[in-house]
Symmetry: C2
């Protein structure tokens, strides 16, 4: 058992080194060698845990998702009893790059997107996350409908797609410096007001 | 005058060669040399017109935007008297990658996005198009409000951001194979129904 924990810690250590490099130096230029140096490990050790850069990126993505889910859960619970609206808002705000932490998360997603554009196999792996998130959003909307907080006429699947688009597209524009985080959050609130309105 | 036309045609010829290559072979791997071969020109001729790959991409982007505007205008006018709703719908549907033509357009945008993520100077150039489009969308929404077709309570700037997000984010997912063009168009129609509803 102690050995297993150590392996997990090593993978996290490598993922975080990769993350620091991608955030600083762009996404495509990062080599396994640089990651090893940044993590303070040998190339051999890094390759023991990850055979390819893509394997490493995938682990890093999952690691960031796990941390993000923990952050969102803590935030939602701190605000009082969670509601579908407070959960959806926390998810969308947390996806938007607003600080170094969430910017790093978003950049990992962009790194995958860039690889997936040219590589259908990567697109398949990368894509498994979004339908899951859309189903989660749609489930929250259905709960709100059951409680009478969202009109029955709303289509949960379409609403989930719209909410995801607001985080995804506005996130890209924040990254480009074309939209402020505050503007993006206010568009999210505007849309939630409308969805949860009469 | 004939000489000038010839120069423009040469630029278009190069841009279209670049476009064919990016669509076939991914975005980052295309070299000036390959573009010259694809265009049936010498390296020297290509470099006479474009000093760098970025200059060439920028021209290609503008060229595609011009063609796309012509396509949208023709489509809207063919449908009968244009309304803000028919104009907005045509723009959104045309941005979504649904056929080789619109997919090529979207990929040129992605090529820019990828470069802009790592290069703030490119982000600036690339970004000039979006605010212009958002203002055009907001203007259409204000016209619909003046005609009583969109509720006065709608915020034109926020609505424009939502509409753009629907095309931008859903377009990326179509490219990844995670969403069908038909699903994306139906989400656009769902949203326009709501915006133009009571």
């Amino acid at each position: 058992m102690p050995k297993r924990v150590d392996h997990d810690q090593r993978r996290v250590q490598i993922a975080e080194a990769l993350q620091r490099l991608t955030t600083r130096a762009g996404l495509e230029g990062v080599s396994l060698r640089q990651v090893a140096a940044e993590a303070g490990m040998s190339m051999g050790s890094v390759q023991h845990y990850f055979k390819t850069k893509d394997e490493m990126l995938l682990f890093a993505l999952e690691h960031r998702h796990k941390l993000r889910t923990e952050r969102i859960t803590a935030k939602v619970l701190a605000e009082g009893p969670p509601t579908p609206r407070s959960i959806l808002r926390a998810c969308l705000v947390e996806i938007l790059p607003r600080d170094p932490e969430s910017e790093a998360d978003f950049l990992i997603g962009v790194a995958y997107f860039i690889r997936a554009v040219a590589d259908p196999a990567m697109a398949k792996v990368f894509g498994e996350g979004t339908p899951e998130l859309l189903q989660f959003f749609a489930g929250q909307i259905r709960q709100a409908q059951a409680a009478g907080d969202v009109p029955a006429s709303a289509d949960p699947a379409a609403e989930a797609a719209i909410l995801w688009a607001l985080a995804d597209s506005q996130g890209s524009e924040i990254l480009m410096g074309h939209r402020t985080p505050a503007d993006a959050v206010s568009t999210v609130d505007y849309y939630l007001d409308r969805l949860f309105g009469a």
